[in-house]
């Protein structure tokens, strides 16, 4: 398979550009940001549509409540702040005013995971997927590159209901099609294979692509799925792939507890119990460092995915 890198871009720019596109086409879209316009790349929307943009200052709880209120009157609010402040800091506001109240709010979260880098563990949330997927009715999406994040941003405006959209800070390979139609809840098979299924999400999708090269040299034919929607889970696609390969490795920039791997494990335990390994952070906080250093130190790189694949195949 050919995964051509078009350029290196941050997924947060995909969000910012997607939001700007939405602003031009849909007058019901409104933006809210808690003092992180530059970091969230919301400047183009804020400048072009000042009447539909609300700077809340550093008051994330208030921002979530305001977003809930803006839906009453038919607007589609997109909130922007770091993933940590989009979830853990405002969990009860999201739970009561948005999720339980069934409000059509799009919670857009940047700087997720350890690739946030030098700021360290205070800002590197690795628990947000778990927090959000546990909320009834919440859709959870983790796109893998710039193009997919832009497409996902546009797609979630068409979905009625609360959505958590998770993306990141560093520039990463941009390789998915610029003209893709993003389908919520529809897993994408990037490469078919026979020996193992690798299910990756977010930044780990490219790491898994890198792992394919290592595995090919070892004679392992891996199937790779880009699972951009954690919830609702594309159970059909996962089960079909694993039924064929008979083992699975998941890969994510998140705690093992509560993440993508746990969702897959639950599905397989109920319907197709087969050997599984998880590439994820194992009950640790992050720390300062460059994104690449941290991904290696926390076992989230291509080498670790390839190791996990060999381990799970040995267990078949």
């Amino acid at each position: 398979m050919d995964f051509k890198i078009q350029n290196h871009q941050d997924t947060r720019s995909g969000f910012g550009d997607g939001l700007y596109e939405l602003g031009k086409t849909n007058p019901r879209i409104v933006g809210l940001c808690a003092d992180l316009i530059g970091s969230l790349k919301m400047g183009a929307f804020a400048n072009e549509f000042p009447d539909r943009f609300f700077q809340t200052g550093i008051s994330e709880a208030n921002m979530m409540g305001m977003a809930a209120g803006l839906t009453i009157g038919g607007f589609i609010p997109f909130t922007g702040t770091f993933a940590n402040f989009s979830t853990g800091r405002v969990y009860d506001q999201i739970r009561q005013s948005i999720a339980y109240s069934g409000k059509n709010v799009k919670i857009c979260a940047s700087h997720a995971g350890i690739t946030l880098g030098e700021d360290g563990a205070t800002h590197q949330i690795l628990e947000d997927i778990g927090l959000m997927k546990m909320l009834p009715g919440m859709t959870v999406i983790v796109p893998c590159d710039y193009n997919q994040t832009k497409a996902a941003t546009i797609a979630i405006a068409e979905h009625t209901g609360p959505v958590y959209l998770r993306f990141g800070r560093p520039k990463v390979p941009n390789f998915t099609p610029a003209d893709q139609q993003f389908e919520i809840g529809k897993a994408i098979t990037l490469k078919p294979g026979r020996d193992v299924t690798i299910i990756a999400t977010g930044h780990l999708v490219w790491k898994a692509i890198e792992a394919l090269t290592i595995l090919k040299e070892k004679g392992i034919d891996a199937e790779l799925i880009n699972l951009h929607t954690i919830k609702p889970l594309d159970e059909e696609a996962v089960l079909a792939s694993v039924a064929k390969t008979r083992c699975v490795v998941t890969a994510e920039e998140h705690q093992q507890y509560g993440g993508l791997g746990e969702s897959i494990a639950g599905l397989l335990a109920r319907q197709l119990p087969l050997p599984m390994e998880m590439v994820a952070v194992n009950d640790r906080f992050g720390q300062s460092g460059t994104p690449d250093q941290l991904m290696e130190a926390y076992g989230l790189d291509a080498d670790h995915i390839a190791e996990a694949v060999q381990k799970v195949i040995a267990r078949k």
Binding site: S59, G65, I72, G73, Y100
Partner: protein, 281 residues
């Protein structure tokens, strides 16, 4: 019969509904509900421009009301039912399984009149600001009202929202605080004093109007004044002094009846003090 007398009689029936509802399920919050019965009557039977028989979530062209201190759901539900949002008979299902009248207000069961879940305190003012901004964007001149508790003012999110409304001049918003001085653990002044609440809001850019929330004539007048004071560049706060338990002598003047129901004997005592003016549900 004068309008004021008519409204007072409605408030009395709402008070009967409140004590009967919490008695029937042996749970709920009668104290604050009784204290706010006059306000809810003034709003739902006089001052709100609303369409009880045609509820829509967006409430386009209607005034919106949000209850932030959701635990006083009995008075909210009674006012909604009595003003025509749903059958008064449904009040009998309060806090019971498969009811639309959840312990705290919710939207999941689609009870007409409720636009956001509340109960976890401190969130309603933010929601009201968002709804007020939506009114502006839609060129809808209607107003947004929100009721909060005084104990609720201890929540940090309230002050994020108060700052936002003041700094951004959200002037189609009328907030009301039930200033009864009581919360679950005791007097607000003992649990965590609020200090100069009027001065605090004023320093955040609000116009604050102290009123007596158990004086129907004053309530109607001040709500009309507040409507006239809207769209003048400042958010308004009615700092509404009430008596917790108002209308039932043994429930008044103490935090004790914040969140406990009357027994059979106490119910009979309470109902003997509250005339059945509109017919019980």
């Amino acid at each position: 019969m004068s309008d004021i007398t008519k409204f007072q009689r409605i408030a009395t029936q709402i008070r009967r509904d409140i004590v009967r509802m919490v008695h029937a399920c042996q749970s709920g919050h009668p104290g604050g509900s009784l204290g706010c019965a006059d306000l809810f009557t003034a709003l739902y039977f006089s001052e709100l421009n609303h369409r009880p028989d045609h509820f829509t979530m967006d409430g386009e062209g209607e005034d919106l009301f949000f209850l932030s201190n959701g635990h006083i759901s009995p008075v909210f539900y009674s006012a909604l039912a009595r003003s025509g949002y749903f059958p008064v008979s449904e009040l009998a299902s309060f806090r019971k399984i498969h009811s639309r009248l959840q312990g705290h207000p919710a939207t999941l069961e689609e009870l007409p009149g409720v636009r956001v879940a509340s109960g976890s305190l401190g969130q309603g003012l933010s929601v009201a600001i968002g709804a007020a901004l939506a009114k502006r964007l839609n060129n809808d001149p209607s107003l947004v009202f929100v009721l909060m508790g005084d104990g609720e003012q201890q929540e940090g999110q309230i002050w994020e929202a108060a700052l936002h409304a003041g700094s951004r001049k959200i002037d189609n918003l009328i907030a009301i605080i039930d200033y009864n001085g009581q919360q679950i653990d005791g007097a607000v002044d003992d649990v965590m004093p609020l200090g100069d609440l009027k001065g605090k809001y004023e320093s955040f850019g609000w116009k604050v109007i102290p009123i007596n929330g158990n004086d129907m004539q004053q309530l109607i007048k001040e709500l009309k004044m507040a409507r006239q004071g809207a769209n003048k560049g400042v958010p308004q706060l009615l700092l509404m002094k009430t008596e917790m338990g108002q209308g039932v002598d043994f429930m008044m003047g103490s935090h004790k009846w914040h969140g406990i129901p009357p027994n059979d004997e106490q119910l009979a005592d309470a109902l003997s003090q509250l005339e059945e003016t509109l017919g019980d549900y």
